[in-house]
Structures are given as structure tokens and as C-alpha cells.
Amino acid sequence: MRKLGFLISGLLLSLALACGGGNSGGAPPAAPATGLAYTDPTGTGWRLVKDPASTPSRLLLNLVGPTALKTRGAGFNLKAPVSIRFGNFIESAWPIKDLGVYELWNTDPYPGDGSVAVGSDPLEPKLLAGGVKAGNVLTVGIFQKDRRASAKDSGHPLCQVALEFDASAGLKAGDALPLTITKSKHMAEDIGAFSMTPTAEMVRKANLVEMTIAVGALHAN
């Protein structure tokens, strides 16, 4: 019996190491995960912050920018392990939700620069979209298209994305689920300038501004 007990202890240790648990104390194997847990990042720059409306099975992350930084929109690519599913929002039919800070609509049905008149249309297309690309990379963007709309203070939840727990993925409680921002840019207040007279010419060029978004720690639990 003694010999058998030694063998079993050794086997448990081997299994624990193989699973990456690293618990050399011979603790029981991790229980299957039932949800997601997220710890917000620190700092006051661009960051993904957990929304209070999150549930264990659907984690909602809000993009928040630096207070007092005026911007006209932002976009980023977020890579997650394949065991995480990115979710859609019913109200937008996209994997990104507008939180109402940016003005996504045409602000005036008749642009004052002499260009084509645009009618008021409830189906008017907006610069709000997203998708999941190969490698489980969520790509989302939200931008004001009308240059007459003022830039907005970025220090508020600007948009939201959803990460969903996949019960079929075989996650164990405590499993680390690293999230990585592979690209992120925002549109600054200065969007360039354009002259109408005497001829239509660009006066000042502008570009999207690269930025760093801090991401918190995500675990299965």
C-alpha cells in the first residue's frame, strides 16, 4: 500500500505540472471554470475598464481615454486566446457598442461647404464597425465622420466590447487569458484643414495618432 501511495502522489504531481498549474503541494486539480474575471489596469491613459453591467459569462470592457484629451474617435485591435469568444451587441449588430460620447451622425443635412446635400435618414451609415479577424483578433472602430462636430473629451467610456465565456473551451478556474492590443489609434481634434477658395485645396494634413491602451488581467474562474 505504501508503495502504491507513492506512485499515486507522483502521478498527481506529474499531472499538475503537465497542466501548468505549478501547484507542487499536491493540491487537487483546478475545477472547471464557470466564468471570466477581469482586473482593471492602473493609470489614467487609454485603457480598457470593466463595465459594472458585466456578468461572469459576458465581460464588458469600456474604452476610456485620458481626461481632457479631445478626440474624434478611436479604433483598436484586441487579440485574445481562442478560448474566448467576442460577442455582438444586439442594438448595434456589431461587436462594438457606442456609449454616446461621439457624434456619429451627420450633424446637418446640408453641409455648408457647397458639397452634395445629404438627406436626414434613419439608416444613414455611421463610422462604427467591428469584426473578428483570423487569430481571434477583434478589430473595432468608432469615429465621428462630420468634421463640423466638435471633438469630445476622451475621459469617459467611449465604446464597449464584449468577451464571452465559452463553456465548451475546457477552461479551468484560474487559467490566465492574456489580452493583447496589437494596434490602436485615435483621431485627434486637429483633422487638417481644407480651403474652398480660390480653389479647393488641402491646407493642412492630419493623421490618426498611435496610442497605447492599457489592458487589465483576465482569468477564468
Binding site: 460577442g87 464597425a129 479577424k133 479647393a200
Partner: protein, 791 residues
């Protein structure tokens, strides 16, 4: 009134009570026809009164009404009256009722194309003169107009906004976007005041043109442009031939007052030709009334001088030499006359067919005279034939010495003259982008066969029925020196035309999408084989069918296009609607009930099978059929509703360049919804209105090419390979920030250039255009959703 009818007419009333089927088999006597014609004016009034009383039922207000615009009395003695819908006295485009007023019977009116809920705000702020000036500025004529533009104030429904127009290059057969006729307009209201401006050109600089403009009466925007000339497009090939089609024939000519003869038939046509009446009669006795053959005077190099002359001054009344045309600069001589002989001979037969068989007086039902212009040259018209509805005239090309023969073949002429019938009744639109473009051409092809069969009969030019022999079911076999321009029995034998309907048929030029109706009418008249591999075998009707003969088929389709269908040049008639109405025509003509209406019969079953055999609707007693559709997912979104290409391209999809994508498709009526994707599609066989590129991967996805533009893709049902759909994907470049990756971050730069007159960077546009607007926004998000969508 009835009491005073002579005995013969009393008998006719009885015959009508027994039903149209009985009447249809017996030609109407001259006296009965005369009586019915005398009653036509009163019946027109009755039709108008009937519809005015029904306005509330039809959803119309007191500001609306109906005005009769066309009437004829059909072979059953029924007055068929077309009435335009008006709003405050002005025509509502594309909205018309067709009323049928029988002797002593109740009025039946087809009102499916009458638009309810018409409301037009405000009043025109532009004058008709300003609208005319806008149209003329766009027309940009290089030579003089044929006459002053005709301007009419109308109500324009937003659904008829113009879209992408295409044209066929006569030299290459390629289809390309006609930038002159393409309209990018938008409307915020469903109905607006507009001016219809009809322009007409025929001069050495511009050639013949008949463009109708619709100008917004408040903004001056061009809302739509219609090309009224009915062209017959051909594809050049290499061959040799001769330009003499009818052999030795007798011709209806005139002995003129100067004792010479002319190719001028004063016995056919009672109203002057609207074009020729502008000419001043000379001392020869000529007038603008009557069928006549004219020629275009070319120079010795074959360049049209745009001077036209009647074939006349012939001392012996002997015409032509029967040889292929070679006499450029000498068109009025014996060699040039050969084309005039062929033309006038076929014109007379066509005229008589419509008058004697179908009781239609001339192409417009009014007896308006028709003339042909042979010897047409120039890059577009040399290898072509067309019908000009404003001039009521045919233009017939000379062909080329090493290519096509003269376009004066019998069936080509009957085809073009039939455009005169449809142009004054159903008014099919004639450009690719609409299914009815094929219905238009097929109607002309089919009746050309019926005229050919009629002319083969032994009754001279007076018979009232169409023999079931005599049609060869080919168009332009002589023009092509033995290779027909089109086949009706198996249209795909030309390597271009469609044998059956599929979603995407509308992308074809009408001359080739015509294959669907051509084959249906061939099956209806002639029957279909049950032998796989035979030209007249259809996989959609493997059991085959028995034909009902030319005469019944001709009457059913004539009733359908002259009494049932209406487009108003707006492109609203589909193959399925044509099929449904043809069944109704069959029931009315050959139904088995006492009244002839409502009960099906072997003839109506044949119509169902004939259309089912070309994949339009179900066969008789068939319960279900697999369908593959591109259209169902878009559901009238912003792109379909507002984008300039909403006509004909409403179910296109945007996709990114250089990405692995899965185009959207819907399979109906089959639990197995799997499809096989292929690059390209049937429409590419007759031109390059779209590209073909990329790679279909093993998993069925499509790796798109890197070049922007329209691409054709085809999805075929794995469960039923006879069912497929051709769609259009417009590939756009989403990489607006230039980092070599297409992602949602690229939404940003669109904002930099949005609605600037000149964008900051062409890369900001989905179309690499110098401007950016909501079309770019819509294209971007559509492509993204289609490619990286989240379940």
C-alpha cells in the same frame, strides 16, 4: 342601341357570351370589327369613368385621376384602354391602369401598377425652359436637334431614380458602363415634381439619338435618362455572305405622279409618319403616310452623310440586283436598292400579320406609318438595326464586307417593328440591369418568328391565323452567313444567351437574357423534348411537353404584352410577373369554363410548363423548387435604397480586396443549403460589365484579388446543380490609413475626407475616388460585416 344591331352583330354578341375561347378560334368579320371600332371612343370614356369612381378603392385622393393614352380593339372585340394615373392633372411616371371594355360586359381593369399614396410637396420652382436647358446641356449635341425638345411636367417616383447604364460595343461585343446615361441622383421624398424632356438628334455629328431626361423641377438634378432607340446588338465575327434574303418577290410600290416608281406603299398606314411629315412633299405625289423604304447616302468610303432619300425614280418598277451591298456612295442604285427590297417586303408582311391576325392597326394601333432607313453606317449602326419610337422608323445597317451581311433580313425587320408594338403598350425598358430588357427583346424575337410563319402560309397576306410551320426559331441566320445571331430553341447555342432564369439574369444585355422568354415561347408553341441532350430538352421539365401551336402561343403572348403588363420604361416587370400574366391570358383565351375565365385548362397548363421549363415559376402540379438567391439578405438597407446603383444592382455586396471572404447567399426550398462557388458568371459571356478574379479555396471561401472593381461570382446549389445565381461583388480597399492591414481602425481616415469637395487623400475612399461620402461609409461597413462578421 342593341335592338338596332344587324343580325350578324346579334350573333356576335351571343358568341361573346359563350366566351373568348370560342371567339378566338373564329376571325372577326369585317362588319363586326367595324362595329367594335365605332364603339371604341365610348368605351374609352366608360373605362375612364370606371377608374375615376374607383379612386378611393385604389388608394387615390381627389387630386388624382386617369387619362386615356392608348386604346385599341382586340381580336375578341374588346376595347383595351391604357390610362395614365395623374396627380393634379400631371402624369405619374410608371403608374398606369389597363382597362378592358367588352361589348355589354363588365369593365375589368388591371391596376397592379397604379401607385397608391402619391403625395408631392410644393410646386416646381424651375420653368420648363430651364429644365429643357439642363437636358440640352447634358446632351451636349454637336449638331442641330431634329426638333425642339418636348417638355412635360410629371410626378417622379423616387424608386425610378436612374442608375448605372450599360452599352454594347458593336465592334467587340463588350458591355461597358455608359457614362453618358448613368445617373447618380438622390431624393429625400418618395415623389417629386419633375419635367420629362424628350430630345431628338439625327445629324452627321451626333448620329441618331432619342434621349428622354427627367429633371427634378425644384433642384434641377437629372433624375433619370432613358434611351428611346431600340437597338439590336450583335457580336462581330468573321465571315462572307450576300445581302439578298428574300429572293424574287413582288413588292407593294407606287407609281408616282412623275410616272416613275418608288418603294412606297400607300396602302399600309393611315396616319402620317411623325418624322417624315416634317418633310415638304414634292411633285412626285409622295406623302408621309404609308410604308416606305429610304436609304442613307454614304460617301464612297462608307461614311454616312446623314442625308436620307426615298427609293424612287425607278422607271420600270424593277428593284435591286440581289447581290451583297458594295455600292457605297451609290446607295440609290440597283445594288443599294436590294436592301430596300428586303426591307419593304418584310415590313409589309409584319404590318399584315399584326393587322390580320392580332387586329392591331400598325405598330401603335393607330395606323401610324412606318419607314425604314437602309444603308446605315457609322461605328454603331453599320452592324446593327434599331427601332426609333419617336420617328416610328427602322434603322438598318449595311453590314461589313468581311463581317455581317446587311441588316435587312426578314426576321430582323419583324423584330424591330415589334419594338414599335411594345414601345406603345407595355413600354419595356431596354437596357441591361432589368429582367424586362430580355422580355423586350424576346417579344420581338418571338413575333419575328410568328411573322415568318405567317408569311410562309398559303393565304397570301390576308390570313387570320398563324400556321404552326414556317418558323425556323432563329434570328439573323442570314446576317451571320449561316450562324444565327440568336436561337430560340436553345438560346445558349450562341455561347452567350441564357437557357433559363436564374437570380442575376438581369446583368445580361437584353438581347441575351431574352433567351429565357424566347425558349419559353418556343416550348409553348413547339413543345419540349423528354430526351436529355436534345436541343429542346429542359432539365427543369424532364418529362417534356406538347406545344399548343404558333397561333395560340402568339395570341397568348400578344394579349399578355398589350393587355396585362406595364412598365412605362421603368424596369419593373419581371419574368415571374410575365409568366403569371401569360397564364391569365391563356385562361381568358382558352379557359375551359363557359365564360373563359378562371378555370385552368390544358393550354394554361402548357403555359405553366413552358415557363417552368425555363425556371420561371413552377411546372403544372409541381410543388416546390430549389432556389438560389443573392437578394434576400440585404432587405432594403441603406445601400439598396439610397445608393446610385439601386436599380439592377440592388443585391450586390461589398467585399474587401485581397482577403479570404465568404459571399452571402440564400438557398430556398431545400434543406441542403450548401453551394459551390465559381468565379465569373453567365453574364460575362456577353461582355465585361464585371471582372473575374481571385481564387476559390478548398473550403469554399474566395480569396479576392487586389484590384478594385465589380466581380462576378456564381453560387450553384449542391443539392440541385440546375439552380444557381450570379451575383456582383464590388471589391473595395479598406486600408485607408496605409498600414497594409484592413481593419476597423481604417474607419478613421474616412472622416478626414467625408463630404469634402476634394478629399484629402484618394486612399480615404473605398473606390480610390477623389471624394468621400456616405457611399464610402456604407461600403466599408458592409464589406467588414460580410468578411469578419461575428455570430
Amino acid at each position: 342601341m342593341h335592338g338596332s344591331l344587324p343580325r350578324l352583330l346579334t350573333a356576335l354578341v351571343f358568341a361573346l357570351a359563350l366566351g373568348p375561347a370560342l371567339v378566338a378560334a373564329q376571325p372577326m368579320s369585317p362588319s363586326a370589327r367595324a362595329y367594335h371600332l365605332s364603339q371604341q371612343p365610348q368605351r374609352v370614356v366608360l373605362a375612364q369613368d370606371n377608374l375615376m369612381v374607383r379612386r378611393t378603392e385604389l388608394g387615390l385622393s381627389e387630386r388624382e385621376g386617369f387619362i386615356p393614352v392608348h386604346a385599341f380593339t382586340n381580336s375578341e372585340g374588346v376595347a383595351v384602354v391604357r390610362l395614365d394615373h395623374t396627380f393634379e392633372g400631371h402624369r405619374v411616371l410608371g403608374s398606369q391602369a389597363i382597362a378592358k371594355v367588352p361589348l355589354g360586359g363588365s369593365i375589368r381593369a388591371s391596376t397592379s401598377k397604379v401607385m397608391a399614396g402619391v403625395q408631392v410637396e410644393g410646386a416646381p420652382t424651375l420653368s420648363p425652359e430651364t429644365a429643357s436647358a439642363i437636358a440640352l446641356r447634358h446632351l451636349d449635341s454637336k449638331g442641330p436637334l431634329k426638333g425642339a425638345p418636348r417638355v412635360e411636367r410629371v410626378v417622379f417616383p423616387a424608386q425610378f431614380l436612374g442608375g448605372i447604364a450599360t452599352t454594347v460595343d458593336p465592334e467587340t461585343g463588350k458591355v461597358s458602363v455608359d457614362r453618358k446615361l448613368t445617373v447618380h441622383a438622390r431624393l429625400s421624398a418618395p415623389y417629386v415634381w419633375a419635367y420629362e424632356v424628350r430630345t431628338h438628334l439625327q445629324n452627321v455629328h451626333d448620329g441618331p439619338k432619342a434621349l428622354t431626361y427627367y429633371i427634378d423641377a425644384r433642384t434641377g438634378n437629372i433624375l433619370r435618362i432613358n434611351d428611346a432607340l431600340e437597338h439590336q446588338a450583335v457580336t462581330p465575327s468573321t465571315g462572307t455572305g450576300k445581302g439578298y434574303y428574300n429572293g424574287n418577290v413582288s413588292l407593294p410600290t407606287s407609281l408616282m405622279l412623275d410616272s416613275t416608281y418608288a418603294l412606297y406603299d400607300p396602302t399600309r398606314g393611315t396616319l402620317p409618319n411623325p418624322d417624315l411629315q416634317n418633310y415638304t412633299p414634292d411633285a412626285s405625289g409622295w406623302s408621309a403616310t404609308g410604308l416606305q423604304a429610304w436609304y442613307e447616302q454614304n460617301d464612297a468610303q462608307g461614311t454616312n452623310t446623314y442625308q436620307s432619300f426615298l427609293f424612287q425614280g425607278n422607271a420600270g418598277n424593277a428593284w435591286g440586283d440581289g447581290l451583297p451591298f458594295t455600292a457605297y456612295g451609290m446607295e440609290g442604285g440597283a445594288n443599294g436598292q436590294t436592301a430596300g427590297v428586303d426591307a419593304l417586303y418584310a415590313m409589309a408582311w409584319t404590318w399584315d400579320f399584326y393587322k390580320n391576325v392580332l387586329n392591331l392597326d400598325g405598330m401603335d394601333g393607330k395606323g401610324t406609318s412606318v419607314y425604314a432607313q437602309v444603308g446605315m453606317t457609322g461605328s454603331y449602326f453599320r452592324n446593327n438595326a434599331y427601332w426609333d419610337p419617336y420617328s416610328m422608323a427602322l434603322g438598318l445597317g449595311t453590314g461589313t464586307p468581311t463581317g455581317y451581311g446587311s441588316f435587312t433580313e426578314f426576321d430582323v425587320i419583324a423584330h424591330e417593328m415589334t419594338h414599335g408594338v411594345t414601345a406603345t403598350t407595355v413600354k419595356f425598358v431596354n437596357s441591361a440591369g432589368y429582367e424586362e430588357a430580355g422580355l423586350n427583346e424576346a417579344t420581338s424575337d418571338f413575333f419575328a418568328q410568328m411573322v415568318k410563319a405567317y408569311a410562309s402560309g398559303s393565304a397570301g397576306n390576308t390570313g387570320a391565323t398563324v400556321p404552326s410551320t414556317g418558323a425556323d426559331w432563329r434570328i439573323g441566320a442570314g446576317v451571320g452567313h449561316g450562324t444565327p445571331l440568336r436561337y430560340l430553341d436553345k438560346p445558349s447555342k450562341d455561347q452567350r444567351s441564357a437557357d433559363g432564369w436564374y437570380d442575376g439574369l438581369l446583368y445580361m444585355d437584353g438581347h441575351f437574357s431574352a433567351g429565357v422568354l424566347n425558349r419559353a415561347l418556343y416550348f409553348l408553341a413547339h413543345g419540349a423534348s423528354a430526351t436529355p441532350g436534345a436541343d429542346d430538352f429542359s432539365p427543369y421539365l424532364p418529362q417534356g411537353m406538347k406545344g399548343i401551336g404558333n397561333d395560340k402561343a402568339a395570341r397568348i403572348w400578344f394579349k399578355t404584352v398589350t393587355e396585362k403588363l406595364y412598365s412605362g420604361n421603368m424596369g419593373t416587370v419581371t419574368c415571374l410577373e410575365a409568366r403569371d400574366q401569360a397564364i391569365q391570358s391563356a385562361l381568358e383565351l382558352y379557359g375551359e369554363s363557359a365564360g373563359g375565365f378562371g378555370l385552368d385548362s390544358l393550354v394554361s397548363h402548357a403555359v405553366e410548363n413552358a415557363f417552368g421549363a425555363v425556371n420561371v415559376g413552377l411546372n403544372y402540379a409541381e410543388s416546390s423548387r430549389t432556389q438560389v438567391r443573392f437578394a434576400d439578405w440585404r432587405n432594403h438597407d441603406w445601400i439598396q435604397r439610397n445608393h446610385f446603383s439601386d436599380i439592377g444592382y440592388g443585391h450586390k455586396q461589398y467585399l474587401p480586396v485581397g482577403e479570404r471572404v465568404n459571399p452571402r447567399i440564400t438557398v430556398l426550398n431545400n434543406p441542403n443549403t450548401a453551394v459551390t462557388w465559381t468565379l465569373g458568371g453567365p453574364s460575362l459571356y456577353n461582355g465585361a460589365s464585371a471582372l473575374k478574379g481571385g481564387v476559390i479555396n478548398a473550403d469554399g471561401s474566395w480569396t479576392t484579388p487586389y484590384t478594385l472593381g465589380w466581380y462576378a461570382i456564381t453560387a450553384t446549389s449542391k443539392a440541385d446543380p440546375n439552380q444557381f445565381a450570379e451575383g456582383r461583388a464590388f471589391l473595395v480597399n479598406l486600408d485607408t490609413d496605409g498600414d497594409n492591414e484592413q481593419d476597423a481602425v481604417d474607419l478613421g481616415p474616412i472622416a478626414f475626407s467625408w463630404y469634402l469637395t476634394n478629399g484629402l487623400n484618394p486612399a480615404h475612399s473605398m473606390f480610390n475616388a477623389p471624394w468621400v461620402d456616405d457611399a464610402d461609409v456604407a461600403a466599408f461597413v458592409d464589406a467588414m460585416k460580410a468578411t469578419w462578421w461575428v455570430k
